[in-house]
Symmetry: C2
DNA sequence: TATTGTTATACTCTATAACTATA
DNA sequence: TATAGTTATAGAGTATAACAATA
């Protein structure tokens, strides 16, 4: 794939092609995931929030890890609360609200993971070794992206000084 | 990454996690790409259309390969035509309109690829071998997705019976 | 009758700005 | 003064349905 030795900035062009290929592939995966998620009665954004909530997290944290604005998380939390999937829990810092999965929310999260896996047709084209390789590569890239919940060892329960903020 | 031997449907769960990781990573790449594209004066959808148009393609084909509706491509084509990046060319089947990059369009496409490559910070974390591996994996997955332009050897210029339709 | 591209319209996702309550 | 969450609103992206021209 990497076309070698064709002058300057060729490397950027190759990287550009790789980025475009990644977008194209991920769009198809996204469509697979969206189908699985909708058949579980959720929209994609709501589902992604549920999948992010392995641990209770301040809404602000969720906004960061979802890459969206705080205001958007309000609506997401409303939707999830209506469905009985999360609870808002006031933090020690009383400005903060943590989102915590209910038992129903945890069940749905597990079901979502299975459903998404079963519906991911594009990933089915890879054998076990290839999946491992892909996971490793993506992890290298994603390393450093903001994590879902609180950084380990945060001084108090509401993780006051999360990575970089 | 693949947690082995923990009961049934564990494989689906692992696949689900991989799909979620892919979405998360691709979102970050998308953000990188969007920045590069905007600094070239285009929106992301317009840019993706330009990048898809290595060869002139019927609008319907572009809709398929972009994974969107025909009606949306009308607006995309309008935007690109306004900027002098593409021309609409009536096909042999006179219902069909091909989108063809102008010289300015081709120049911009090349510039976009360079700009995107230079702005893809996440991909910069991979060395050459890792990029090749990623490209290979993504290609395996994307193989079979509808191609941008006409399938090679289409009977007449407007590729009447494109893959599967 | 079926298909291409177009138009008009509406919906979903998401951000911006201003507000409140804490800190 | 700065930050967390909320509200109201606006914008981007995209689809749906009905239509004209062509096959």
């Amino acid at each position: 794939m990497t076309t070698t030795g064709q002058g300057p900035s060729t490397r950027d062009v190759d990287t550009g092609r790789l980025a475009v290929l990644l977008l194209r592939t991920s769009d198809a995966v996204r469509a697979d995931v969206a189908r699985a998620v909708e058949s579980a009665g959720l929209t994609l954004p709501l589902a992604r929030a549920v999948l992010q909530l392995d641990e209770p997290a301040p809404m602000r944290n969720l906004a960061d890890s979802l890459g969206c604005d705080r205001s958007y998380v309000t609506g997401v939390a409303d939707g999830l609360e209506e469905r009985g999937l999360v609870q808002r829990v006031t933090g020690q810092d009383r400005r903060v609200k943590l989102l915590r999965l209910t038992p129903a929310g945890r069940d749905l999260r597990d079901e979502l993971l299975r459903g998404i896996g079963a519906a991911s047709h594009l990933l089915e084209r890879l054998n076990d070794a290839e999946r491992d390789a892909l996971a490793t590569l993506l992890s290298s890239m994603a390393d450093g992206l903001l994590p879902s919940a609180c950084p380990i060892g945060s001084a108090d329960a509401d993780c006051p000084d999360a990575a970089g903020r």
